[in-house]
Amino acid sequence: MARVLMKGNEAIAEAAIAAGCRFFFGYPITPQSEVPEYFSIRMPEVGGTFVQAESEVAAVNMLYGAAGTGVRAMTSSSSPGFSLKQEGISYIACAEIPAVVVNIMRGGPGLGSIQASQADYFQATKGGGHGDYRLLVYAPASIQEACDLMATAFDRSQKYRCVSMILGDGMLGQMMEPVEIKPVEVKQYDNSWATVGWADKSRPRAVVNSLYITHEELGAVNKRLQAKYKEIAANEVMVEEFNMDQPEFVIVAFGTVARIAKNAVAKLKEQGINVGLIRPITVWPFPYCSLEKAAAMNSVKGFLTVEVSAGQLVEDVRLGVNGKKPVELHNTLGSVYPTPDEIVESILALKGRK
């Protein structure tokens, strides 16, 4: 497919179709409504199914049911709507059903605002719903990366039988960029667990379930889940390390904010100040090792976390740096996005400090 100009939300939907997704269940909410809108047009064209559910809760449970048959299925929403899906996501995680979810973040808490935000970081990376489970969370910084990661998200959800998430902000959903939707080789994994009928009795009965009556059973399920998350954490970390050759300071940011920060890095370079950028592409598992490595560099005097939330990403940065260097926060609230110049100012302030 030639390069075309697409809105983030449209491209996310088209990339999901390219990755083999044929079932979408959703409910409109700004700024992600173009995702269901686009699927409603495209799914019938590719023999897929689009359902506008009566609510987010219904949509996520439709996803649970469809994905339980082993097909590639997804749902999407934005912050308040995504909160509504949490119970269902916890069930899907416990039942070890592969599924993909998309959150195009807007301002919060509460109904908040339709304007973009990054304040669902904790929700995405630290659980969200109840119980000990994790999502494999990808945080793209461009529309092309969102498309490419969509293929990865579907593949890994099937591979690990886990829930993968694309975590974007309203900026990513609403902006337009040139993009190429690349063909995806859809790899088939064992799906003997899927509930697709039991007529020939050739395998054990497949059951989709998240209720365990005995301590022993629930304990075993949790142990299995934790082992799986450990494996994911060991194998699936993705990170971009930008301008990390002996930097004086290191900025940490994800998604669109990391792109704003890259402009600041370039501007600082013009002033003769060498600043690196660590951009987590997976925010869970978090690239703690990149932070640890940077903290051990002699040239690095400190870290600056840039985020459009009250200080969420910075907690993971502090865990990675582990007290070896100062970690400062440059954040904005109320869906206001930082400018490159404001980030430059923060770095200059750090530099001026004794």
């Binding site: 390069r3 075309v4 449209e10 700004t30 700024p31 339709i114 973009a116 309203g170």
Partner: protein, 230 residues
């Protein structure tokens, strides 16, 4: 008194209506025309022309938009003040309509008013051939006819604004030109402008040997955040 000229811009999401609307309005004001820009978008929550209100007002342009445009809520509202563009107090009115047929629906409400000023009205269909929804003749025809139906207005101009944002090129524009001229022949709507960055238009002129329909009109891009280059 009542001889206001009108430019209505419609098209697919991402066709570039808003950039063109800003350029039309600012050029009009620069020529000393008393100018008004109406942000009639009832669909798009972000990146709307009224987001540039300060810039426009500094140039002496009146901006009419939903009072909730660019705020934290998403309400499909049209400002009642839009009716002022028909009172004759302006020399030039630019109407930036929301994308796709759904966006054009807001325009349909002004069918009677627009009918009365038809001789001073330019209705422009903005085409970006790099958008998947308007990539060939059948797709453009469907888009244009649905916009005409929902907007209750006939198109009298085509604008070739084919671009790939920061990856725009004269070749890309030429691909769009072939399509816009095909649409022009098939639907009998003339090509008015070929829009784009001045340097791209100059190379386009060389590439085509000045053999093309429509007038080259350079535009300045103001909507795209600079950090998107990274």
């Amino acid at each position: 008194m009542a001889n206001t000229k009108y430019d209505i811009l419609v098209g697919n999401y991402g066709s570039g209506k808003t950039e063109i609307a800003l350029n039309f309005a600012l050029d009009g004001a620069a020529q000393g025309k008393k100018t008004v820009l109406v942000d009639l978008d009832i669909v798009n929550p972000y990146f709307r022309s009224s987001a540039k209100r300060l810039l426009l007002e500094e140039a002496g342009i009146m901006v009419i938009a939903s009072e909730f445009a660019n705020t934290g809520i998403d309400l499909p509202l049209v400002s009642a003040e839009t009716a002022r563009i028909f009172t004759g107090e302006f020399d030039y009115a630019v109407i930036d309509v929301g994308g796709d047929p759904v966006g054009a629906t807001a325009l349909g409400r002004y069918k009677i008013e627009l009918g009365k000023i038809a001789d001073r009205l330019n209705t422009n269909f903005v085409l970006n051939a790099s958008r998947p929804q308007t990539i060939d003749l059948p797709a453009v025809r469907k888009m244009l006819e649905l916009i005409e139906a929902r907007g209750r207005v006939k198109m009298n101009w085509l604008i070739n604004n084919t671009n790939l944002a920061n990856e725009s090129s004269p070749e890309n524009l030429l691909t769009g030109q072939r399509l816009v001229e095909e649409v022009s022949r098939e639907l009998d709507i003339p090509v008015r402008y070929i829009t784009g960055r001045a340097d791209i238009l100059e190379k386009f002129r060389e590439l085509t040997g000045a053999e093309f329909k429509g007038e080259l009109r350079p535009i300045v891009m103001r909507m795209r955040p600079g950090w998107q280059d990274y």
